[in-house]
């Protein structure tokens, strides 16, 4: 078990730079994709037929394109047809896209923001941006990856508007320097006490300061690499590593509190 992302190569190609120079978002920081082996790609697998279809949808014969050896290429999947129709302005198809992706987008917003009302607002904003930009999606990357990045950018822009300084999160969010080494001697081991379940961890993540939560969600939950996060947040890779470490330390404190209370009883 390690502390850095160690997944294999992405199953679905992340955006190879921009989509023909067009990013799904308004930030120049979102144009990058690199060799990061990211879990967020794996999570997108479930809608891969839709994504594959984005490329297929460009094919001239939607019912199956004959190949050189005479075999017919597979017809467009139902999901790909939905995407193609939504790109052509079909509102019903867009509604279907919403139904397919709403949980993923909303969950991402919720984890990044830790607030239901804000998460709903930004889910709405993400789908409105999707509606505006869907025609620019050309299938260079998985559709769900594209939407995922669009959503992250919507959240980041929101946080910037709120004044969160994503470059110097340390100073902005945690002005008190650490004093001495972390002490845990004598306290119960988190693993041994078995104190982490999803709800407990979720609450602890929600309690993190916004900047720490953002980095933790992007790296440990969404599977972004530090170089990707640095690009997304326009900060250094070292800063991303430092923020993540501090986020985990904060979580450890938060998760220890109930265990320590038990010991005190």
């Amino acid at each position: 078990m390690g502390l850095s992302n160690s997944a294999g190569p992405p199953d679905i190609d992340l955006a190879k730079g921009t989509l023909q120079g067009k990013s799904p978002d308004e930030s120049p920081h979102m144009t990058k994709a690199d060799d990061g082996a990211s879990k967020h790609s794996e999570q997108d697998e479930r809608s891969s037929s839709l994504e594959e279809g984005a490329a297929q949808a460009q094919a001239p014969a939607a019912g199956g394109t004959p190949t050189k050896d005479g075999a017919a290429a597979p017809a467009l999947s139902a999901d790909a047809v939905i995407l193609a129709r939504a790109q052509a302005g079909d509102h019903a198809a867009f509604a279907q896209l919403y139904a397919l992706h709403k949980r993923r987008v909303y969950s991402l917003c919720l984890r990044m923001l830790g607030n239901v009302a804000e998460a709903e607002d930004l889910t709405q904003e993400s789908f409105l941006q999707l509606h505006r930009k869907i025609a620019t999606f050309r299938g260079d990357s998985a559709f769900s990856t594209w939407l995922h990045r669009l959503t992250i950018n919507v959240v980041l822009m929101h946080l910037r508007r709120k004044g969160l300084n994503l470059i110097s999160l340390d100073e902005a969010l945690d002005p008190s320097p650490d004093h001495g080494p972390a002490r845990s001697f004598g306290a119960p081991d988190l693993r041994l006490s078995g104190s982490i379940d999803r709800m407990t961890l979720e609450k602890a993540v929600e309690s993190l300061p916004a900047g720490y939560r953002l980095i933790f969600v992007l790296h440990d939950i969404e599977g972004y690499e530090h170089n990707e996060i640095a690009t997304l947040l326009d900060c250094s890779i070292g800063n991303s590593k430092s923020q993540l470490h501090k986020a985990r330390m904060k979580l450890r404190e938060a998760l220890r509190a109930p265990a320590d209370e038990e010991v005190a009883k």
Binding site: M1, G2, L3, S4, S6, K39, Q43, H91, A95, Y98, K102, R103, R104, Y106, S107, L110, R111, A119, E120, T123, Q124, F127, L128, Q129, H131, R132, G180, P181, A182, R183, S184, F185, D189, L190, R191, I196, D197, R198, L201, E202, V205, F216, D220, I221, G223, H226, I237, G238, S240, K241, S242, L244, H245, K246, R248, M249, L251, R252, L255
Partner: protein
């Protein structure tokens, strides 16, 4: 405890603290680079830092395993709001 013994104990603790501070200060960069800290000599002698690393690993692993499985459902009304916004030309 006599005064010299106490002084010695304090001195030892200070030295241990110094080692721990140095080790823990190096953690973000080394962990971020994917280094396995279990091989660090300090880890062999310091239960405190060993426990710290173990717990941070556990938190990271728990996040990977526990979160992606669960996705939340937004309120039904959200789609209505999106539709209205599209009709108003906001999209």
């Amino acid at each position: 405890m006599t005064e010299p013994e106490e002084d010695y104990r304090n001195l030892t603790e200070d030295l241990n603290d110094a080692e721990c501070v140095k080790f823990q200060a190096s953690m973000p960069e080394r962990i971020g680079a994917g280094e396995d800290l279990q091989d660090d000599p300090h880890m062999l002698t310091c239960e405190r830092c060993r426990s710290l690393v173990r717990e941070l690993e556990y938190i990271a692993e728990a996040a990977r395993q526990l979160f992606p499985a669960e996705e939340e459902e937004p309120r039904e009304e959200l789609w209505t709001n999106i539709q209205l916004a599209i009709e108003r030309g906001e999209a």
